[in-house]
């Protein structure tokens, strides 16, 4: 399972980086989304994957009796999914607006600011 997740993470990072380096703005957004998913999988993987019980202490016990799954990585991933969801929504609107105003989706054409103005 770990090996599979590690490979998946690597594939997502690689695909994300590749897409970010493309010239189309839409592919840039797709790249960022893929990269973000890769990061989430990485956190999940590095929080150790354990087969165990949910981390809830029974009322009669003072501490964990069994092996339990670490809840923190899941909380982290949940937070980061929510944040990146918001950012991606903003990004899509921004790109749509930029495409309408600039009339191009080629990142190499977005260089009017580098010229002297």
């Amino acid at each position: 399972m770990e090996i599979l997740l590690a490979i998946m993470t690597g594939v997502l990072y690689a695909a994300g980086t590749y897409m970010i380096l493309r010239r189309s703005i839409v592919k840039l957004i797709i790249g960022i989304i893929l990269f973000g998913n890769g990061v989430n999988l990485l956190i999940f993987l590095l929080g150790r994957i354990t087969k165990g019980n949910p981390p809830i202490i029974a009322p009669e016990l003072k501490h964990f009796a069994d092996i339990y799954a670490d809840p923190i990585p899941q909380a982290l991933i949940l937070t980061s999914i929510v944040i990146s969801f918001g950012l991606q929504a903003f990004a899509i609107i921004l790109v749509k607006r930029a495409y309408k105003v600039l009339k191009t989706d080629d990142l190499d054409m977005l260089n009017t600011l580098d010229e002297d103005s």
């Binding site: 937070t79 930029a98 002297d116």
Partner: protein, 502 residues
């Protein structure tokens, strides 16, 4: 007073940003409320500063969860100082933005988002938890995306796409580093990480993790190979927005680097050398970039990069004297860089352009304003006894004593080129005769404004200039403050003890 006082700056900004949402279309009310809000925030920030100065580092556990398990807010001297500076810069920029930004833009919740930005900044300075730092960073960048793209002009959107991509990418790298450090140490509390990371067997992975964090924060603070988004985007939004970005957003990256380098990875020779190399390259690329530009706001953007190099390099030298220099420079830089972009806004209002070639004769027509501006420009260069001079003594001496001659050379070169650039701006925009100006009849020039509006333009600059003068002439106070912060940072055990309460 209880320790909870350090969370009040957050509550103030959150409260006012929510209140402002109720006045969505009433721009006039919003202007008054935001200025009141920033005055309240300034008062609270002063209270926090005095409290921290008297009682030292103190910790608030969110929800009363004990330190390594819950999220902590840590108010040490560095945080308190930065909160105070944020409040000063925030107040000045809010006064400036009430008049410099047109109402059509303000109507889209500008001030509400502005308070969210300040909330995020204060939170990032206060938090003692790595993941919480990430969340504050996200709040900062989300607000900054809105501020940079509000108005939706062609230039702005083009800058916003670049700004968005790089900053979002930086956050993802930060998150990767977080994942790795959680896997290594099993904790997210910065103090706890600092203790546990020494016992990690595989120190190579620790270095990899450090480089991931370094990359993320370097993107935020525009360190050399990752700095090209900054001059491509900072001159596109209205001046008030770029002022707050220039003064505080890049400095949050520097703050995060300082925290990381002093607390989590202290005295790591690999990182120190890497930072020194990056600092030299940053100074060179920033200063040479500034020389060839003709747009005043672009020149200032490149100068931000140049001076980030000073701080990064001081961090790379890493002894008490160098850290003193870094902190002093940080204090000076926040005030001066904010002011520079406000000045850029005033020049735009005077001449309808910020291209040096097309403006001139400012000194002839506005002598008093020009004298005000020259004080700020000289503070930036570091003409003694103004504010930029004093931190450089510490930086020079410490890099000379430790034999970092490359960094020393870059410091001198950077300072010299800053002087050349400022001289160029002065001779082009202020002393040269006014060339033929293409007048757009609809543009509202400075002279056509009501007196109260003129004062709204000039007051923030005066406020910040007075503060710059105080940093220069009252340097012994700031030096004492910086030394105290540097001692705290260098002996990070104090911070760890305060958080974990052994």
């Amino acid at each position: 007073m209880s320790e909870n006082i350090i969370t009040y700056p957050l509550i103030v900004h959150l409260f006012f940003s929510i209140v402002l949402m109720f006045f969505w279309n009433k721009v006039k009310v919003q202007k008054i409320v935001t200025i009141i809000g920033n005055f309240v925030a300034l008062g609270v920030a002063i209270a926090v500063f005095i409290f921290t100065w008297q009682y030292g580092t103190h910790v608030v556990n969110a929800g009363n969860w004990e330190a390594p398990y819950g999220i902590v807010f840590v108010g040490d001297m560095l945080s308190a100082t930065l909160i105070l500076l944020t409040a000063i810069a925030g107040l000045s920029v809010s006064i400036f933005s009430t008049v410099s930004i047109i109402n059509a833009r303000l109507r889209f919740g500008f001030f509400s988002v502005y308070h969210f930005l300040l909330l995020g900044l204060n939170g990032a300075f206060l938090t003692g938890d790595m993941f919480n730092l990430y969340v504050w960073f996200e709040i900062i960048i989300i607000s900054s995306f809105v501020l940079i793209s509000i108005g939706g002009e062609k230039n702005q959107l083009e800058g916003a796409v670049k700004y968005f991509t790089l900053n979002f990418f930086g956050s993802l790298i930060f998150l990767t580093g977080l994942g790795v450090i959680y896997g290594l140490t099993g904790t997210l509390n910065m103090a706890d990480i600092a203790v546990k990371i020494q016992h990690v067997n595989n120190q190579v992975i620790v270095d990899v993790c450090a480089v991931l964090f370094l990359t993320a924060f370097a993107i935020k603070s525009a360190v050399f190979p990752l700095n090209f988004w900054l001059p491509a985007s900072y001159h596109t939004p209205p001046s008030a927005v770029s002022a707050i970005f220039a003064g505080l957003l890049t400095k949050v990256g520097v703050y995060a680097l300082i925290r990381m380098m002093t607390l989590i990875f202290p005295q790591d020779p690999f990182l120190m050398n890497l930072l020194l190399v990056l600092a030299v390259l940053t100074i060179i690329s920033g200063s040479f970039g500034a020389i060839i530009q003709n747009n005043i706001r672009k020149v200032f953007s490149f100068l931000i990069i140049c001076h980030i190099g000073f701080m990064i390099g001081g961090l790379g030298v890493f002894n008490v004297m160098a850290l003193t220099g870094v902190i002093f420079y940080l204090i000076h830089d926040i005030i001066v860089k904010t002011n520079l972009f406000l000045i850029g806004g005033v020049i735009y209002r005077l001449k309808a352009t910020t291209n040096m070639k097309m403006i001139g004769g400012l000194y002839k027509s506005y002598p008093k304003l020009s004298l005000l501006i020259i004080v700020v420009l000289f503070s930036l260069v570091g003409v003694p006894p103004l504010s930029g001079f004093w931190p450089k003594i510490s930086l020079f001496l410490s890099s000379y004593n430790t034999g970092n001659y490359w960094f020393l050379g870059a410091l001198i070169l950077g300072s010299f080129i800053t002087l050349v650039v400022i001289a160029k701006i002065w001779s082009e925009a202020f002393w040269k005769n006014q060339p033929e100006l293409k007048v757009n009849k609809r543009f509202i020039f400075f002279d056509k404004l009501y007196p109260i509006q003129k004062w709204q333009f000039v007051t923030p600059i005066v406020l910040l200039a007075i503060f710059s003068l105080y940093i220069g002439f009252g340097a012994q106070h700031i030096q004492a403050l910086s030394e105290r912060i540097a001692e705290d940072l260098y002996n990070s055990q104090n911070y760890i003890d305060a958080v974990l309460k052994p």
